[in-house]
Amino acid sequence: MSDQFEPVIVGFLCNWCSYRAADLAGTARIKYAPNLRVIRVMCSGRVDPQFVLQALRSGADGVLIAGCHPGECHYVNGNIKALRRFTLLRKTLEQWGIEQERVQLLWASASEGTVLAAAVDRMTEQIKALGPLRWSQKVLGGNGAVHPVAEEV
């Protein structure tokens, strides 16, 4: 049993593209970091920022949102809406001192099993280097109080 920190990354993968990409990675027996735990949604546009925040608050060290490439969304442009929300979410996380690498957005089409696997590997390495999230420290300022910058927002 290694004592090395193994991050837990929650993934919200869209049913049509990225979830299938993960399926394909498995079918092709591509081995990648087992740190990703997938939750299926129909479209990346379904991902509510509160899911991401709840995941981090509940102890996940990172969150991956994955959808179809722009222009290829099964529901036309749900992924674009996901991109908009993600952009704003990122700003909020930044203000709370949560590192950018912890929440990432990825486009992966159903045939891109290798892309997904590589992205998971990369993200796992990045978060390993960052260490555990420590929500109470980062966001709550260690004493249970809300972080001063977040208060201003």
Binding site: V10, D23, L24, G45, R46, A117
Partner: protein, 676 residues
Amino acid sequence: MSDIKESPAGQERVGVYVCHCGSNIAGTINVDEVSKWIESNPNVVVSRHYEFMCSSTGQELIEKDIKEKGLTRVVVASCSPHMHEKTFREATQRGGLNPFLFEMANIREHDSWATNNKEAATTKAKALVNAAVERVVHHVPLEKIPVDINPNTMIVGGGIAGITAALELAEAGHHVYLVEREGTIGGHMAQIDKTFPTLDCSACILTPKMVDVGQNDNITLLTYSEVESVDGYIGNFNITVRKKARCVDEELCTSCGICEEKCPQKVLDDNYGAGISYRKAIYRAFPQAVPGYPVLDKENCTYFQTGKCKVCEKVCPTSAIDYEQEDQLINFNVGNIILATGYDLFDARRIPQYGYGRLANVFTSLQFERMVNASGPTGGHIVLRDGVTEPESIAIVHCVGSRDQNYNEYCSKVCCMYSLKFAHLVHEHLPEAEVYNYYIDMRTPGKGYEEFYHRLLKEGTHFIRGKVAEITDADRKPGEEGKLIVQAENTLLGIQQRNAVDMVILSSGIQARHDAEEVSKLFKMGCDYDGFFNERHPKLAPVSTMTDGIFIAGACQGPKDIPDTVAQGGAAASQVAKLISQGTVMMEPVRASIREDECSGCRICNNLCPYNAIEFDEEKKVSHVVTALCQGCGTCVAACPSGVIDGAHFTNTQVLAELKGILWDVEADVPAMEEV
């Protein structure tokens, strides 16, 4: 197998089934451990593990437990839901439960197959199974939604794919609207002289089918027309087609052709004529056009440009010319759509080294087809650009724009065969001429194709294996003056070769139509990286798309020859016929619905829906989802600031419960958490 637990009142009774899938899962994940571990979840009353859950025995386990153990929810931890969600939902239903009271945990594709780390895989499997259990207790029964299928079909594109599909459906007794952009149906196949490998005359095999289409009562032929808008969903598409004004009254025209004959304005025909012949301003693309009514090209018509002329009106014996004719907008409903919009030829001007457009005697494949055709501009004689001289040597260059990282990486599938066909035609028309085929590989996969290649070898064609680097008129040695020099590496001999020929034919590749992306957006579907329409599954569903009710056939899906195109046309027709004969289709109940009592009327959701499925009720001042239009993406659910939109089967409660379950082994680093 464990003892049956008694569950407290009001709690669900979940049955968990962990599949071994032979050694696919069990080889990496300790299924026994997972199965025992999940029993500690208070919702779980039955936990089993079994070799092959998808087998009939496996499924019976589920059915039996539901009946005998009073299960209220079922979880199967096995492969991807894309494999067996349907299987297990049906098993659940047979056991007596609503099929949506079931959830799957993907511990094969996403876990056992993706890692060699047994410990990590088992921990992850526990997380995924736990997540499924936590989620499934919040599932509610859902019913599929029946949708009626309108028996009419719209086919966009009147090439051989569209014609085949139209005839199949029409002869089966269903009504078809065939929409074609040009003035006549026929497509690219009408431009071809002979088809490989049988050397059938293309027009001879195509025109009878065209005539059938024109005469079939079940086909409404809308030529010189384009689709303007598509609304609705499978079974109920509402279509608007713009029938452009051809300035000819179809009721009066007898297709006598006098207007065309007398028209004084010659126009370069860069469509049907591939740019080497002329047509008139009022024209039929070719004599066997269906329908036979000519089209008046306003942009090149003397009358429309300068106000003078009107010769066609004067000579028409039935007074069928109508300069005032306007575009018509035609509206109709169909249940299904087949897209058969065909291809464009790769533009050889993109490869300036080949000299197309600069050097007189470099021709493209379609130009050569027109030249060698008896009804073409030269009466079927193979001549140089001057229209008179017969070439003594011809080079045919394969793979122009195809198999090339700089242009299109894919192979266009038909060029080797048509290049061989050209070689043969040259031998036939000009027995003394030397023919050089420059190829990379000889791709002859179909029936009779390889034999055709061998025939060409016997006919004395010179085959040079090498990609042509340059075609130039810069002569260097005596004997090269006035000729085209083809420079290539002859890889089989290992030398650079300069070959002086009189004429070069570029076997340009097949490309997606230049407006394929716009068309795909109109129909709310997608194109792949190369611009061809996206099929639902490249192997098992090549003519369906991700959008129910919309099918694709022919070269618009990818490069292919005529036999494959006809096969796809028939396949698409058969898919449509299946839906029509079913009469009603059951739609997935994954939809959004708004709790109108709580809706504040902010209307943020209204414009977010890509299917325009959200309406605003002006009286009640609340928004409302039109269930039949909703496709269940969930964007509105995530966007609603009041949180009053429920995404059936993907509610916030369900997703957050799944999240809680998935993080079973991590501690929340917060002071005492409130329940979400």
